[in-house]
Structure formats: structure tokens, C-alpha cells
């Protein structure tokens, strides 16, 4: 595999956020709220400050004194001032000479909070469910509603209306490395090195939370021990920076694994009522209602509901529909991004429902989906035109594979299909700079590698194709937000699709400049002989050293800057009744096939074989595509079968550890076959489509449909734990 980061990682030489260290560094710990909801009467740190090794301890009133402008965004205070909103919300922070001293001191904080009633269950705070709310409800923090066509007529004229209710659990990203950062305040510069998927988002958050100009905040990404969405915005950085400012020394703050579970912003529970009218073997109308647990204080709750809800209509043509969603505030940590946040769960809903209708009609579930699935030129629910889409082609291949697999499997095994799609985040922009020297091409950009390879390999693959150079002549350079060109972040499967286009544009600019210098046109490529780079065109073959000016040779090479800011996308606003919806940027489809057996006594599900058919547009590096699919499928198996955040009625997470929150392990993994579906180009460079998130999306649906195929019983709730399957089988 071509990845320049592997050797250092295999030798243990890579510095992750958790490995950061400075001379004179202090260690930090957080004081966490003992209740899930309450009015703060007093936070007394006097005993903490006297504890051995403690250098500084800060809480809400101290923040103002430390900030140059005296305050930050009142909507997003660093520490709560009046009310705590979730259990384990940080209410104070401590820096000490050692970690054990900081942690021991945290226990000495005297915290007096008057408990308030807790909202933990979205169905109880929404008594009208599943009917839309007519009464004002203070728990509702987002409401989205869209419709099109005459749904009442469709329902009236249908042969039947198929109605189901599904529930999905909260899940955690569980990156192996917890959040970790190191803060230093020197003069007017607030500098933090941190394990993040988006240094520029962290800068923006810090600037607003701390009331500092962006120029005063410098964020440097460390290597990231897994992100999966959990490291896209600031979490620990404000605490660490304030402690560093208070102490006048560098401060390291890293979460323990338990804290990672308790404080992480994750996917929260969701309930969906889905109803489809069916006539002549087709879905003629669909009504969807959703309640989403938004946790406390989510800044982008509209985004979560409005972006998520249209996925409940699936990649299917249903022109007559109504979707209505409510985001509800609960006393849990805020909802946060997670590899395709909520979409594996919602795909489980829509694709279980499609499967269930097909079974009711006694038609082949794949043929039923193929009769409805999007093709190029079709429209999304909100009237956006679909570009080249390989979903049907993937379904066709899955259809053949099922036949083959059924032929050689034991009778009691079941086979299930999951059909999902993702909208790659190509609308979030970014920039890159290239530097061409006689010996190498350097890609200067603002991200760090989070593991998927999208930076360390993806950007290199784009430059390779753009210029003709081999990967061995290309190096990715990393720097902080003060010197790197802007980029939105490594999320939304956008790195290659969006930042990659900035690299592509900069490459084109380099070529134009070299063509101008050599008087060639239209065919110039670069070649590398292992030592130096040459420009090659018809009748031309010249070392780069001869094409650069003396200044360029002295100052790091010939430079080119590429920017990519996707054009604004539109949808049919007339279909929106209320709330904010989000356009689909670039549709990427995936079809998965699972073969399972179900233990008829315990309800335990075993996955025997798995195949994933992915609409990748053009695979820039097939080994990397395969790696993303294999990893995403296994993460999805966790969502499907075992992973579930459990809360007590007091609002605490009951399973904040790897023993009780069960991830897939090595011996749970079935053989996974990965098939790229090419020929349906996407919006990315050379027609590439994002591949980071799509692989997790169809997994719970494929597994649930396979369980239904094996047993005839449908499970309406994720994860498909043995207990839930046993209930569906009427064993309990």
C-alpha cells in the first residue's frame, strides 16, 4: 500500500495528540457535574487550590478575568454559569504538576447544585407522538417539515398503507485515542496543538468562545488516533488554553477513556414512524415522522434534523411525500457528528421498511428496490437532479451475488440487502498550495491525517494524476492555521472531493506556468527518475532545475495556489413547510449484502459473509477504497449488533467503557468482499466520489434484512442485540 505514514506508525514514531509534551508542562483535569440538570448555587475551588501540586484552578467567574476582551460568546460559555445541562458537564478545570495531583484535586471541588427535572426520553416529552405537536413544547428545539404531492389521495387510493415504527440507539465514535491537546499562551498568541479533524473549525470555535480575533488563535493539528466525526470541533481546547493563560505555562489536557464516553458528542436516539401507500406493486406515497434526541445545547440542531430527515425517503423515487421531524432537547451531552451521523440508523429504517413492503407483496426485495431506485436525471425529494448514480448497477451485481451465495449456503442462513447513499460534503471549501522543486512536489495544506488516508494518500493521488508524477516524488506538508491555507476539515467524505479539487486546480496552474515557460501547450507532464523531476512535452524534456528562476530555487520552488469553493446548491424551496433543509451535494450510493444465521435459543446473530458494492465514481487508489470499505463495514456491524449508549434515569451514561460498550472484535469479523462500481463519475477530481462514510451506511439495514430473511421476524430497533432478536422471535 502506498502511504507515506505507515513506516513511522509501525515504528511507534508518530506523535499523536495524546503524546504531546513540553518542558515545564502542567497536567490538567476537569471537574464534572454530579447532576444532569440543575441550578448552580456555588462552585468552590478553595480546597482544590490548596491541594498538593495544584498550580491553578478555574471556573466560570475566572474565565472573564483571563480573556483579553473580558468575555466570549454568551451563547457558548466555556463553563456553565447558571445551569448545568447534562451529567458530567465540565464546570471547572485544574492544572497541576502531575496528572494524579490534578485528578485528586478535582475531587475536592465543592459543588452545590439544585437539581432540576431531567428530560432523558424523547417519547415521554412528546406526548402527542406519533402525531405532530399542536401544543407548544419547550423541549422542541428544531422543527422541520416538507411535503409534495397529494399524499392524502395517495393514501386513500392505496391497496394498503404499510405503517411501522422504528427506534435506534445512541452510539459513540470510540476513536482509540481520546481527545487530547496541549495549550500554550505566549503574549497575545493563544496556541493549541490538538488531535483534531479540523484545525480551522477549532480556530473558529475558540475565537468565538474566547472572544479572541482569529489572528490571535493558532491551532496546529497533531496526528489523530481516529476521528470518526468526534474530533471536528473544539472540546477541550478552551479549558486547556484558559489554564495555560492562568498558569503561564504549557498545559496538557487529555480525557481518560471513561471521560471520552461521558463527554463526547455522539449520535443520540431517534424514533421514526414511517408509512407508505402501495398500489400496483409500487410505493405511491410516503409519510415520515421523526423524533431526534438532540441532547443539550446543540448549536446545529436544525442541521441535524433537516439534513437527516430526507434520508428517510431513501435513494428512491417517491414524488408524493410528507416528512416532519422534531429535534428535542434532553439532558445528555450535545448530539455530535459520527461517521455519516445518524444515516446508518435512518437507512436501517427506510431499507427495513422497503424490504418489509416487498415481503408483504411477496416480490423479490432487490427487484422491488430496483423498481424505485434513483437513476441519473431523477430527482431527490426536494427536487434536486441526481447526477450519474451507480446504485442500480450495484443492486444488479448484488442480485447475482445473492443467487450464487444462496446456492452454497446452509438452509437456515438468511440474506439481506441494504441500500444506502451519502451526500459527499463537497460544498465545504478549501485551498492548497503546491511547491515544485527540482527534486519534489510539496502539497501544503491545512489538515492532518486522521487515519483514512484521505490526506496522506488521497491528495497525493490527485496530484499524481494531475501531473504524471509518481507518489514517491510527492510530499504532503503540515502546518498550523497561521501558515497553512484554509480548509474546512476532514469530514463529510469531502477531503478528496473538495480539498482534492484545490490540489487539482493548483496542479493545473503549475502546468500552465511551465507551459508558458517552455512554449508548449496542452500536453506537459512531469517525470521523476528517483532523483530529479523533468518537464516533458512533445519535443521537450527539461529538468525542472532549468525552468525555475534563481529566486524560486532559493525560496522553495515554483508555487501555485488552488482554491475550491463549491457552487451554492439549490433545491425546490416550495416543498419546504418549516425549518431548514440541506441540499444534497454529490450522491454516492452503496449496496451491501449480508449472510447471517440466528441462534434460535439466544437470538444471537452471526454474520457469515459480507459483500459491499460501492459507487466510487473513479477509484483513485483501489487499495484505499477497499480499506475504507472494510473498516466502515465493521464499524457498521457494531451499530447493527452491539453498540448502544445506555442512560440511567438520572441521566448518566451506564456503560462508559469498552467492557460494556461492545465494539466489534477481530474474531467477530466475517470475510468481506469489496466491489467497486465504476463508470458513474462524481463531483470530485477525475470523477472520484467520497468513500469515507458510505461504507458504514447500509450495514444495519443489510443485517436486519438478513435476520428477517433467516427468521421471518423483523426487528424494529437498533442494535439487534440477542435480547431484541429473541423478542422478535417470541422467545422472551
Amino acid at each position: 500500500m502506498i502511504r507515506s505514514d505507515l513506516a513511522a506508525k509501525l515504528a511507534g514514531r508518530t506523535t499523536f495528540g495524546a503524546d504531546l509534551d513540553r518542558p515545564g508542562m502542567l497536567w490538567a483535569a476537569l471537574v464534572l457535574s454530579p447532576v444532569a440538570h440543575g441550578r448552580i448555587r456555588r462552585v468552590d475551588l478553595s480546597k482544590v487550590r490548596k491541594a498538593p501540586g495544584v498550580v491553578v484552578a478555574i471556573t466560570a467567574p475566572d474565565v472573564e478575568k483571563l480573556l483579553p476582551k473580558g468575555s466570549g460568546d454568551p451563547e457558548r460559555p466555556v463553563f456553565p454559569t447558571r445551569e448545568v445541562l447534562y451529567r458530567h458537564q465540565p464546570i471547572a478545570a485544574i492544572a497541576a504538576r502531575t496528572l494524579s495531583e490534578a485528578r485528586a484535586a478535582a475531587l475536592l471541588a465543592e459543588v452545590d447544585i439544585d437539581p432540576l427535572p431531567i428530560v432523558d426520553d424523547i417519547e415521554t416529552v412528546f406526548p402527542e407522538w406519533p402525531e405532530p405537536s399542536k401544543k407548544p413544547n419547550s423541549a422542541v428545539v428544531a422543527h422541520v417539515h416538507a411535503r409534495h404531492g397529494d399524499l392524502e389521495a395517495a393514501f386513500r387510493e392505496a391497496e394498503f398503507v404499510h405503517s411501522e415504527t422504528y427506534r435506534t440507539a445512541g452510539v459513540h465514535q470510540v476513536a482509540l485515542e481520546t481527545h487530547a491537546c496541549l495549550a500554550e499562551v505566549e503574549g497575545a498568541i493563544w496556541r493549541v496543538t490538538t488531535s483534531t479533524q479540523s484545525p480551522f473549525s477549532v480556530r473558529e470555535d475558540l475565537s468565538s468562545q474566547l472572544g479572541l480575533p482569529e489572528s490571535a488563535v493558532v491551532v496546529e493539528g497533531s496526528w489523530v488516533g481516529g476521528g470518526f466525526g468526534g474530533k471536528t470541533s473544539a472540546l477541550l481546547e478552551p479549558f486547556a488554553l484558559l489554564l495555560a493563560a492562568a498558569a503561564g505555562a504549557p498545559v496538557r489536557l487529555a480525557l481518560s477513556y471513561r471521560e471520552e464516553f461521558l463527554l463526547g458528542r455522539t449520535t443520540l436516539p431517534c424514533v421514526v414512524r414511517i408509512e407508505s401507500s402501495v398500489a400496483k406493486g409500487r410505493v405511491t406515497g410516503r409519510r415520515v415522522r421523526m423524533l431526534l434526541d438532540c441532547g443539550s445545547t446543540m448549536p446545529s440542531r436544525d442541521f441535524a434534523t433537516g439534513y437527516a430527515i430526507t434520508f428517510l425517503l431513501g435513494p428512491y423515487n417517491v414524488d408524493t411525500f410528507e416528512v416532519e421531524g422534531y429535534g428535542l432537547r434532553t439532558n445528555k451531552p450535545p448530539f455530535g457528528p459520527h461517521r455519516a451521523p445518524l444515516i446508518p440508523q435512518l437507512t436501517f429504517v427506510i431499507d427495513s421498511h422497503m424490504d418489509s413492503i416487498a415481503r408483504r407483496l411477496s416480490v423479490d426485495p432487490i427487484a422491488f428496490r430496483r423498481a424505485h431506485v434513483w437513476h441519473e436525471g431523477d430527482s431527490t425529494a426536494l427536487g434536486q437532479r441526481i447526477g450519474p448514480s451507480g446504485i442500480d448497477s450495484a443492486l444488479e451485481r448484488a442480485e447475482k451475488t445473492v443467487l450464487r451465495w444462496r446456492g452454497n449456503a446452509p438452509r437456515e442462513h438468511g440474506f439481506g440487502i441494504g441500500v444506502g447513499y451519502w451526500s459527499t460534503g463537497v460544498s465545504a471549501g478549501g485551498e492548497a498550495r503546491l511547491r515544485l522543486t527540482p527534486q519534489e512536489l510539496v502539497i501544503e495544506q491545512g489538515e492532518r491525517e486522521i487515519g483514512s488516508g484521505s490526506v496522506v494518500r488521497g491528495l497525493v493521488a490527485v496530484a499524481e494524476r494531475s501531473l504524471g508524477l509518481p507518489a514517491s516524488a510527492i510530499r504532503v506538508a503540515y502546518s498550523d492555521t497561521a501558515s497553512a491555507p484554509f480548509d474546512s476539515g476532514v469530514f463529510g467524505s469531502r477531503t478528496v472531493g473538495a480539498l482534492g479539487q484545490a490540489v487539482q486546480k493548483a496542479s493545473e496552474e503549475l502546468v500552465r506556468e511551465l507551459e508558458a515557460r517552455t512554449g508548449t501547450k496542452g500536453s506537459l507532464r512531469l517525470e521523476f527518475d528517483g532523483r530529479s523531476i523533468r518537464a516533458v512535452a512533445s519535443g521537450l524534456r527539461r529538468p525542472i532545475a532549468e525552468l525555475l528562476t534563481p529566486e524560486e530555487l532559493n525560496e522553495g520552488g515554483l508555487k501555485a495556489h488552488g482554491k475550491f469553493y463549491g457552487p451554492p446548491m439549490k433545491f425546490d424551496e416550495s416543498r419546504v413547510v418549516a425549518g431548514s433543509f440541506y441540499p444534497v451535494a454529490d450522491v454516492v450510493g452503496a449496496v451491501h449484502l449480508a449472510e447471517v444465521s440466528v441462534d434460535r435459543e439466544t437470538g444471537a446473530v452471526k454474520v457469515h459473509r459480507y459483500a459491499a458494492f460501492h459507487d466510487v465514481g473513479v477509484a483513485l487508489d483501489m487499495a484505499m477504497v477497499r480499506a475504507q470499505v472494510e473498516g466502515g463495514v465493521v464499524m457498521g456491524l457494531g451499530t447493527a449488533l452491539t453498540e448502544e449508549s445506555l442512560w440511567s434515569s438520572e441521566g448518566s451514561l451506564r456503560n462508559p467503557g469498552l467492557l460494556d460498550y461492545r465494539l466489534p472484535r477481530l474474531n467477530d469479523v466475517p470475510p468481506i468482499e469489496v466491489y467497486p462500481v465504476e463508470g458513474f463519475p462524481g463531483a470530485g477530481p477525475f470523477g472520484a466520489k467520497g468513500v469515507g462514510e458510505p461504507p458504514i451506511i447500509p450495514v444495519p439495514a443489510a443485517v436486519a434484512n438478513a435476520v428477517a430473511d433467516a427468521t421471518g421476524a423483523r426487528v424494529f430497533e437498533l442494535p439487534l442485540s440477542p435480547e431484541r432478536v429473541a423478542r422478535a422471535l417470541k422467545l422472551l
Binding site: G12, V634, R665
Partner: protein
């Protein structure tokens, strides 16, 4: 109170003295923060992820659970020293060839654990036995498939 004792360890072939090691200091912290060997990763600290695996006298040990004074006088191999051993070098090469690394946070633990297993059980160990024993190590990125392929590649080579 008497001063905590000085402890002698051999780490990757070098004999080192650690002074004033408190009784409750964990080997993981000794390696990472006292000796600066941060290749050994801290994951859960509760024995549930395997990221902190090191070899103590040739055997895999979860360094987050081991107290430093209990390994006094032992010979340790961490990821930084693993490639100095022929078996460790082969494991690293197999991981590289199969691309069994993404973020790399679980990698040191896997490389060390697999080296230890191959050493302990011998090159004739069965695939199932090795894979079952590796199942205590968690990886969130790769889906394990390339790690399984790397293991198979190694076992084949020794057959």
C-alpha cells in the same frame, strides 16, 4: 516514609534505572512519561483495548495494568525495539504490505502482541489460535481484515 525504590529495567536492549518509582506507578506511564517511549499507546487504561501491549521477558503484557515494580529486572521490548528482532521485523513488513494500519493508534499494540504470540506459540501455531488470541486488541479503523491478512501472510511464510 522511605523513598520509593530505584528499579532496573532492560528496555529494547538497554539497561535503565528508574529512580523513585512510586509503588502504584504503571508500566505504561513509566515507559511513556519517564522514559519518553511514547510508541506504546495509552487507550483505555483498563485492560480492554490492547494498545499498550509490550513484551516482558518475551510475553505479551498490558502495560496499563502492570505495576512497574512488578517487572523489575525484566527485559522489555516495546514497539520502538520490535523491528530489531527478526520476527518483529517480519510482522512490521506484513502490516506494511497489507496496509493493516490507518490511524496507527492500535498499531504498536497489534505489532507487539502478534510478535509475542508468534514467538510464544511458534511459527506452526494455527491461524484460529493466533486470531483468537489477538482478539483482545481493538482497532476502530481497519475492520481487522488487513490485520487478519497480514497474520495469514506471516503464518504462510513460516510453514
Amino acid at each position: 516514609m522511605t523513598a520509593p525504590p530505584t528499579i532496573t529495567l532492560t528496555v529494547n536492549g538497554r539497561t535503565l534505572e528508574c529512580r523513585r518509582v512510586p509503588d502504584d506507578e504503571r508500566l505504561l506511564d513509566t515507559l511513556r512519561w519517564r522514559l519518553g517511549l511514547k510508541g506504546t499507546k495509552e487507550g483505555c487504561r483498563t485492560g480492554d483495548c490492547g494498545a499498550c501491549t509490550v513484551l516482558v521477558d518475551g510475553e505479551s503484557v498490558l502495560s496499563c495494568l502492570a505495576l512497574t515494580h512488578t517487572v523489575e529486572g525484566s527485559s522489555l521490548v516495546t514497539v520502538e525495539g520490535i523491528a530489531a528482532e527478526p520476527l518483529g521485523k517480519a510482522v512490521v513488513a506484513a502490516f506494511q504490505a497489507e496496509g493493516a494500519v490507518q490511524c496507527g493508534y492500535c498499531t504498536p499494540g497489534f505489532v507487539v502482541a502478534l510478535t509475542g504470540l508468534l514467538k510464544e506459540r511458534g511459527p506452526k501455531a494455527s491461524r484460529e489460535e493466533i486470531l483468537a488470541a489477538l482478539s483482545g486488541n481493538l482497532c476502530r479503523c481497519t475492520g481487522y481484515s488487513p490485520i487478519i491478512r497480514a497474520t495469514e501472510r506471516l503464518l504462510e511464510k513460516h510453514r
